[in-house]
């Protein structure tokens, strides 16, 4: 070309000026997941108000005193919703507004601000419980996210959790290894957990790569199979495989002390929490800094281009499912080695969909997995207390959770409500491609 095009400044990226008013248009899109949660919680609240109101009375009040009377009749409903949410927050984080003396003996209470009979308190025990509860969710969410990055929808976290837990618990209690020092026993059990989950995940990955069979169905089938397999392995008496014959309920034997995750003092905070955090860093590094991660993401973003670039789509699909399964297996191992110390049948019921929700909430970003998992664990922990204090069924929390997922996935709804601009094409997060061709 005779004329050269105007010089594109090749070294400088557009620099934002420092002291500039940050507009809603900029932070809005980033806040979408948070707003999704908020919107879902509001809907849940509305539902509570709805179910807590005496509608006949409200109608009468409206007839006699107009809008003011109507709103007054909503009082009890609103009050109930308030109590419910306060209970949820307390159950989740330990922050509550109660009478300190009403707390059960041996529960640590930190009084922050006395307000008459009641006080704003902090119950560390609740927070600890939430952290412990959220730990496997971080790993399970990571598992699903890795799958998404490769264009795979892994609903099999539950089955992979079982697979990992089974192998880990066996390594934990088998007499032959009982004398191993902890420094060997624990890594071995962890490796077992990862391996179990990885194999279980790889099955679906292999079937997808070789036969095109969609992983949604296969992973769900594998979940059902895993549940029953675990059930049989644990309960079987002829032959006895994993059953603890001395126990009064069906379960595996307890693992050796040398296989248990070390804990922080007397608290339930266990080593698995550190593993989860480490996994977040490791997965992030793997996806964004390594060649394998690059391949995986390319296969997910455009399998045709991946083939053109010389990558093996088959190998990467299997690898993705194996890594994904391995992470879920690690979560299962963590629950066994760190919390329960044995494995009863039916231990992981219902975790599969939770992991998807968390991955969606975090928009498959590994680091965002931590707050997303904490939110989820918090919701579940808070639900128990909410049921006691406000007499609202735990299932309502499940509905709120479903709404959260819905608002995150179909974030258009949230964007319309809160006046955020629509997703631009570059921001598309492609999760999966129909039945995959």
């Amino acid at each position: 070309m005779e004329e050269k095009s105007p010089e594109v400044s090749s070294s400088a990226e557009p620099q934002p000026s420092v002291a500039r008013r940050i507009s809603w248009g900029e932070i809005g899109p980033r806040l979408v997941p948070v707003l999704a949660v908020l919107t879902a919680v509001l809907f849940g609240g509305l539902f509570m108000v709805f179910s807590g109101t005496d509608w006949a009375g409200a109608r009468a009040a409206f007839a006699s005193d107009g809008l003011g009377g109507f709103v007054r009749e909503l009082g009890p409903g609103i009050g109930k919703a308030g109590v419910a949410y306060a209970a949820m927050v307390e159950g989740a984080t330990g922050l509550g507004y109660i009478d300190p003396s009403s707390v059960r003996a041996q529960t640590t209470v930190v009084v922050l601000l006395r307000l008459g009979e009641r006080a704003i308190v902090f119950l560390p025990g609740n927070l600890v419980a939430t952290v412990v509860r959220s730990t496997p969710f971080v790993l399970a969410g990571l598992a699903v996210a890795v799958g998404f990055k490769a264009g795979l929808f892994n609903i099999g976290a539950e089955g992979q959790l079982y697979a990992g837990a089974l192998l880990a618990v066996w390594i934990g209690f088998v007499p032959a290894l009982a004398d191993l020092p902890g420094i060997l026993h624990i890594p071995l059990a962890v490796a077992g957990g990862i391996l179990g989950g990885a194999i279980w995940g790889a099955i679906a990955g292999f079937l997808k790569a070789r036969t095109g069979a969609h992983e949604v169905i296969n992973t769900i089938m594998l979940n059902h199979i895993a549940i029953r397999l675990a059930d049989w392995l644990i309960k079987s008496r002829t032959p006895i495989i994993l059953l603890d014959t001395t126990a009064s309920v069906p379960r595996t034997p307890f693992i050796a002390a040398s296989a248990e995750y070390p804990r922080l003092g007397d608290t339930p905070l266990h080593f698995g929490i550190l593993i989860s955090l480490g996994a977040v860093a490791l997965v992030w590094w793997f996806l964004y800094r390594t060649t394998l991660g690059f391949e995986l993401r390319t296969v997910g973003a455009n399998p045709n281009a991946a083939k053109y670039a010389g990558m093996s789509v088959t190998r990467n699909l299997v690898l993705a499912m194996a890594v994904s399964g391995g992470l879920a297996g690690l979560a299962g191992a963590g629950e066994v080695l760190g919390v329960q110390h044995n494995l009863p049948p039916g231990f992981f019921a219902g975790v599969g969909f939770d992991s998807i929700a968390i991955a969606l909430l975090a928009k498959t970003n590994p680091i965002a997995m931590i707050p997303a998992a904490f939110l989820w664990g918090g919701l579940l922990n808070g639900a128990g207390l909410m049921q006691i204090r406000a007499d609202i069924s735990i299932d309502l929390v499940k509905i709120i959770q479903a709404l959260i997922v819905m608002f995150v996935a179909a974030d258009q709804i949230v964007r319309v409500i809160w006046r955020i601009r629509a997703r631009r094409q570059e921001e598309e997060v492609i999760f999966s491609r129909g039945w995959g061709r």
């Binding site: 070309m1 594109v8 053109y308 010389g310 570059e426």
Partner: protein
């Protein structure tokens, strides 16, 4: 009394985010006229037609049909006014039969049930009347391209169109088939149909138009009578400046063969033999152009040579090594570059940043990755270097590839492929859908690497491009190379005959 124009557009304006596709366009179609709309890719021709056909709504302006103002909010409205459109990418459903495709939306029924027999009879009647042979019972997916186009035209006629818009109809036809189409167009005009013929091919315009409207950058650059125009004058109206119609290149001094193909046989996705015993040779420093209309096996040939499609029989050798069963990576590592036919689908990842796209074939090599860890600094340096050299216009190497224009996407791919040491370049339809500026750039790049001694295999359906760039031309028809001849003496007519399968006589 003079008849009002059968179709008139006044002051049509249409904006999309970041671009004004149509800028106060006036357009007049008289009854019984073949009016050509000429413009390069991106000039706004298709947008205007989509507005007339009701698929888009204009931001300003009005449309009149037979002198009456018309509101066209949907395709149904347009159809009701007698406007029919044959799109550039056929709007046919391969799984359904010809009859089903034609009656779709306008079904011939007995109660709620389809009356296929009656429909087929009606179609046959239309087909005979206008001289457009179609088989009502055939499955569209099995039909060759020329037949599919006829189905599209019959589809419009079935809905009683008397204004027919043809959008780039000859893109998929041999020169002979294009002639046939022109005959059909004349016969339609005799029966009272008025035609808008959209194209970017200058020769056709001069051959068939009654009147020519040239669009450039969204506005009307001129309305011309064919008698007063030449290819050069039209080209400069289209682009706004002098255009090189043929690329300047030195005579070639070819060296040793780099690519040798012997009797290659390849199947397509539906298990038909689509490459049937192809043999060819490309030497270093020469460009072998594979001419032929799309659908004769060029796509599959290119895929087979680059390892993306399994080979049924025969052999391929690159630089002395046998690559018949090689994987794409092995082929790349032998020093082969591939510009894929479908850049969006195969050549880049839209959601990835440009720097990642530039790494696509080389990310694992030591320069960019030590022991599986990617070196971001190295990658960034390389990316910045290369986008400057190849004039890829983007604010940042971290912008997503999806934000680039068509021309810049292709330049990015060229940048990537040319930035490693290569011996062979396989380029498939490298300038499809690009603006003239980008086309010129890519042609110059091809000529430049040829001068550096790279062997180039160029597969293109644009005959002008083949004739302009190639040293030798191999014509492909129904999976075979009908003939290979030096580009110097080859004429359009000669090549056209070959593309249609007529064997040349021994010289």
């Amino acid at each position: 009394m003079e008849q009002p124009p059968v179709l008139e557009a006044r002051g049509i304006t249409k904006r999309f985010p970041g671009v004004v596709a149509n800028d106060h366009i006036d357009f007049t179609l008289k009854k019984g006229q073949i009016h050509c709309m000429l413009g390069e890719n991106g000039a706004g021709k298709t947008t205007l037609m989509n507005i007339i056909y009701g698929l888009y709504q204009p931001d300003a302006g009005e449309i009149r049909v037979n002198g009456q103002p018309a509101t066209i909010h949907s395709a149904n409205d347009a159809i009701g006014l007698g406007i029919g459109m044959v799109h550039q990418h056929f709007m046919l459903i391969p799984e359904l039969t010809v009859t089903e495709n034609i009656i779709l939306g306008n079904e011939v029924t007995v109660g709620p049930f389809l009356n296929r027999k009656k429909a087929a009879a009606q179609i046959r009647e239309l087909s005979d009347r206008f001289g457009l042979q179609v088989d009502p019972l055939a499955r569209v997916g099995d039909l060759p391209v020329g037949s599919r186009q006829r189905v599209e035209i019959v589809k419009a006629l079935f809905r009683k169109a008397d204004i027919l818009i043809l959008d780039e109809p000859t893109a998929v036809l041999t020169p002979q088939e294009a002639e046939d189409l022109f005959e059909v167009m004349h016969s339609l005009v005799e029966q009272g149909v008025s035609i808008v013929f959209i194209t970017h091919k200058l020769k056709e315009v001069l051959a068939v138009a009654d009147e020519i409207t040239v669009l450039r950058d969204g506005h009307v650059a001129g309305v011309v009578q064919p008698k007063e125009a030449t290819e050069a004058s039209l080209a400069s109206l289209m682009v706004g400046r002098e255009v090189l119609l043929r690329v300047k290149k030195e005579a070639s001094e070819p060296g040793d063969p780099v690519l040798s193909v012997r009797d290659l046989r390849v199947m397509d996705d539906r298990d038909h033999l689509v490459v049937d015993g192809v043999s060819l040779e490309v030497r270093s420093g020469e460009i072998l152009g594979v001419a032929g209309v799309q659908g004769n096996g060029q796509t599959e040939l290119v895929e087979a040579l680059t390892g993306l499609r399994p080979v049924l029989g025969g052999q391929a050798f690159i630089d002395g090594h046998e690559t018949t069963l090689a994987t794409p990576r092995q082929v790349t590592e032998l020093g082969v570059a591939h510009i894929p036919e479908d850049r969006e689908q195969d050549g880049l990842v839209k959601s990835f940043p440009i720097v990642d796209n530039l790494l696509l074939n080389v990310y694992y090599q030591l320069t960019y990755a030590r022991r599986m860890v990617i070196d971001d600094a190295q990658a960034a340096n390389y990316a910045r270097d290369v986008i400057e050299k190849f004039d890829v216009r983007t604010p940042s190497i971290y912008a997503t590839a999806g934000t680039l224009s068509g021309g810049n996407k292709q330049k990015m791919i060229v940048a990537r492929e040319f930035s490693r040491p290569i011996k062979l370049l396989i380029a498939a339809q490298p300038t499809r859908g690009l603006d003239v500026g980008s086309i010129e750039f890519i042609h110059q790049q091809l000529v430049a690497i040829r001068a550096h001694g790279v062997a180039v295999l160029l597969a293109s359906a644009e005959l002008d491009e083949i004739m302009s760039l190639s040293d030798r031309i191999a014509v492909m028809f129904r999976g075979q190379i009908i003939d290979t001849l030096p580009a110097a003496g080859a004429s359009r007519e000669q090549l056209g005959l070959l593309m249609a399968g007529v064997h040349a006589q021994a010289a």
